[in-house]
Amino acid sequence: MPLINLPAFAADLLADFEQLGTLRVDTPVIQPAEPFLDMAGEDLRRRIFMTESETGKSLCLRPEFTIPVCLRHIETATGTPQRYSYLGEIFRQRREGANEFYQAGIEDLGETDVASADARAISDAIAILTARLPGRKLDVTLGDQSVFEAVVAACGLPAGWQKRLIHAFGNPAQIDTLLTRLSSPQPVTGLSAEIEALLTSGDEATLIAHLDETMEATGYSTNASRSPREIAARLKEKRALEKTALDGRTLSVLREFLSLNMPLADAPAALFAFAEKSGLTLDGALSRFDARVAALGNAGVDAHALTYRAAFGRPLDYYTGMVFEIVIEGSPAVLAGGGRFDRLMTLLGAKERIPAVGFALWLDRMEQALAKPQGEAPQ
C-alpha cells in the first residue's frame, strides 16, 4: 500500500529499527475486537472503531500494535527471543486531534535477561527520539510496579488488600480512595442468622452445602458463574478481616513510598534507605531495580537525566514491572511510552510464559514537535 501521508522521518525511523537488529512486521488494520476489550477492559470500547462482520463477529480498526504483534508471534509459533518493530496507522476515537495516526515501536519478546531488555527498550527509545528530534531536551520518567508490589507484601498486608492496592497502582485517585477506605474497619453485615451461625461455627463444608442448596432452589446454576466454594471462601476472608484496619504507621509508609520522586541515579540508594528506615525487606525487588539502573549505564544512558517516580504505573492488568514515558521538557505530549508486560503473552494464549518489554512512538506528536522552532515547548 503506497502511503503518501507518512511523516518525513519515517524512512529514517525504519533505518533505525533495522540498525537495531529488529524484525519489521505488519499486521492487518482490521482486527478481532475481542482481545483488545479483554485485555484493556470495556472502557476501550468507546475509544476504538468497532464494526461487525457479516457473521456477527466483533471487529475493530487496529487501535495499537502490541496486541496484534504478540498475537502474530503466537500464531506463527516463532521462537524467542525475538525483537519486532512496526510502523503503521492506528485508529482511535479522540475528542481532539485526528482519529487516525501513525505509531511505530519495538516489542522485545522472550529475552530472559530482564534488566538488559528493560534498559535496551529505554535506551532505544531515547536514541531514536534524540536522532529524529535533534536539539530537543527529553524528559524521561520511569516507574516500577514490582517495587510497589514488594512494598505492600513486606508491609504484611492481607493478600486481598495487596491485590486491591496493586490493581489500583498507577491511578492516584483510586489508590487514595482505597487507602482511606482500608483505614477504617469494614464490618460484614446483612447476613441471615443461619449464615451467621454457619460462619461462626467455622463449618465451611456445611456453609458450602447450604449455598449450593440455595442456588439450586433459586434456579441458579452452581457452575456457570461464582461457585458456592468461592463465595464461602471470600465470605470467610471478609469476616476474618472485618475488624482489621490499615494502621497509621503502615499508611504513612505507603504514602511515603508513593511520594518518592528523584533522579533515577539516586533511586537505588533512596529505596534502600526507605526500606531500612521503614523496616521492610525488599531485597529481591531492589536488586532487580539496581540491576536495571546498572544496565542503563552500560547501555550509555545517563541515569541522572532520568526521573524515577514511585507512583508512576499503568493501571492495566498485564503491565507487571517497569514503565516509562518520554516527553519534550515542558510539554505534556507523550512522544514515547513503554513498559514490561510479562503477563500479556500467556493471557493471549501463549503456552509458556514469555517475558516481554516494548515501547511505542507517537509519530504525529513527533511531527508536531518538529514543526515547532527548537527550544520552544509544543502545546
Binding site: L37, D38, A40, G41, E42, D43, R45, R46, G160, K163, R164, H167, A168, N171, A173, Q174, T177, R181, V188, T189, G190, L191, I195, L211, T214, M215, T218, G219, Y220, S221, A224, S225, R226, P228, E230, I231, R234, L235, E237, K238, P315, L316, D317, L347
Partner: protein, 232 residues
Amino acid sequence: MTITIALPSKGRMKDDASAIFEKAGLKIVAVGNERSYRGRVEGLDDVEIAFLSASEISREIGNGSIDFGVTGEDLIREGLSEADARVEFCARLGFGHADVVVAVPEIWLDVDTMADLGDVAADFRARHGRRLAIATKYWRLTQQFFSSQHGIQLYRIVESLGATEGAPASGSADIIVDITSTGSTLKANHLKILSDGIMLRSEACLVRARKAEHAGDPLVAKIIEAVQGAVA
C-alpha cells in the same frame, strides 16, 4: 421562531407530561384526531408539540432537531456523550421514577459494595477463564460508573435488550445493570442491589437542547418558567 417540544407518545408518561403542561398553563391539544403525533399549545401559536417515543426524544434533543423534550434522565445520559454540555435539565417532573442500579445474585453473600465487586472482577479471569460479564442495555452509564467512578476495568458488557434480570440465572451474564422502580422484579429473580450500587436516580425531566438562538428568546424562558412553576 417556532419552538418544538417533544412529549412521550404513549402511556403513563404521555398522560403525566400532559398533566404537568396543563398545570403550567400550557394546555396541549392534539392536531387532528386523538392519536395524532402532532399537537400544539393552546394560545401559543409559535409552539409545536411532537409526540415521540422516549428514546427518540433523547436522540432528537441530542442532535438539536427539537428544542425541548420530556424524557427520562437515564435515556439522556445513556444516549448522549457529554450530556450536560449538550442539554440543560430545566426541571425534574416528579414522575417516571426509576433507579439505574448494579445488581448481583443474592447468593453472593460476600459482595455488598462496588469495592467487593472490584475484587471479584480482578480475580474473575484467573478463576473462570473469562471476564466478569454484565448484562445491560446501559453501555455508557455502566462504563462511566465502573471505569471512571470505581476504577473497575476488568469486565465485559453483554448487550441485553429485554428481560435483563433473568441473565444471571440463565448463565448468560454474572451480574446486571438495569432500571428498577420498586425492586420487586430484582427480588423475584433473586438479585440484590449493591449498597453503593445506585448509578442514577432517574425521573422524567424537561430538557432543553443547548442552542445559541435560545438566548434571549422570551418564549423559551416562558416555557421553562411555567414548567418549573408547575412542579415547584
